[in-house]
Symmetry: C2
Subunit: 197 residues, 2 copies
């Protein structure tokens, strides 16, 4: 009995996901993935040309999940400003729940998006949700929509990144819970954006 074709491919992806979740991005190695999948160190290369392409597949899945999370966060929320906040919170939450995955998705030295169509497409898919909601906000407050988009994205992305790298302890203040800080920042941005242009 031979394994179904494409079966090992999925096994390898799952092993990769498990590995980065358990050991972090720098603990990722092709050989360890192969070990976890129970195959030789070269078997993965039969399904992926190289390390970057495996990572690109993981990135693609990450952006799909990020998009799903964003859309789920929008469910039932009508007010554009609240919707933008909801996406922002989902974004940071995703980053904190999947730190290595998130880093991988946003570090070009691991995956050059322009060389991996699927990853690129999924990234655009997630991005589109933000474009849509930022557009709703801009339509309300009269600001330039691309600027609203960029500002909101930068803020939540910076917040997520700084949290992930442990740089915010000194900024949050003594004993402050980090999720409270996230809420404060996002709430503040929402309030600021509510002001008309």
């Amino acid at each position: 009995m031979r394994a179904a074709p494409e079966n090992l491919r999925r096994t390898i992806l799952d092993a990769s996901l498990g590995l980065i979740a358990a050991e972090g991005l720098e603990g990722f190695s092709m050989r360890e993935v192969a070990r976890r999948a129970g195959v030789s160190h070269q078997a993965p290369y039969h399904h992926f040309p190289d390390r970057e392409t495996i990572m690109a597949a993981i990135v693609a899945e990450g952006f799909q999940r990020l998009r799903d999370n964003s859309l789920a966060a929008l469910e039932g929320v009508e007010d554009p400003f609240e919707r933008l906040s909801a996406i922002g919170r989902a974004y940071v939450k995703f980053a904190l729940n999947n730190p290595a995955h998130f880093k991988l998705m946003f570090r070009s030295e691991h995956v050059r998006e322009d060389r991996h169509d699927e990853a690129k497409a999924c990234a655009l898919g997630a991005f589109d949700v933000l474009v849509m909601v930022a557009g709703e906000v801009a339509a309300r407050n009269g600001h330039h929509d691309r600027t609203v988009l960029l500002t909101a994205w930068s803020t939540v992305h910076g917040l997520a990144t700084l949290l992930l790298e442990g740089k915010l302890e000194k900024a949050i203040g003594a004993g402050g819970a980090s999720d409270a800080a996230v809420d404060r920042v996002i709430a503040m941005l929402e309030r600021l954006l509510r002001a008309d242009a």
Copy 2:
């Protein structure tokens, strides 16, 4: 003739700075540093216990330069909101001019700040400038000073990070220059912050 003590230490740091500037963060290797410094692959270990400690020294220098740049950007600027914008622009500019250096400074897997006192102190030194100016802004608009700080920092940090990773092309819009986008985001944040609480 023997080299002056601590001389190789400086040579190694300079070689490291040159290497990351030329080859990027992932091109950095202890052995390549040694090669550039013209010594054996183990010589650097006589002045630094390990790779992370060399990187920590580089991080420390980076934060010193960031602090200097921030202070220089404040020179002659009186208005708190303009001052915050000036720091923000200096922050992004620093990141774009020293991409690998900037990444190194903000990635905890390379340098765990808590284990390297000098790097930590320099990071706090740069951070203090931001604390000060965010405080001035909060005193004016009546917002919570830590939240102003966090929001401003997150925004410029996210902007810098996304630019560095080449993720903003799709967000800037067709043919848009990225520095114009930076100015727009920072200007928008400034305008938003000018509104009282």
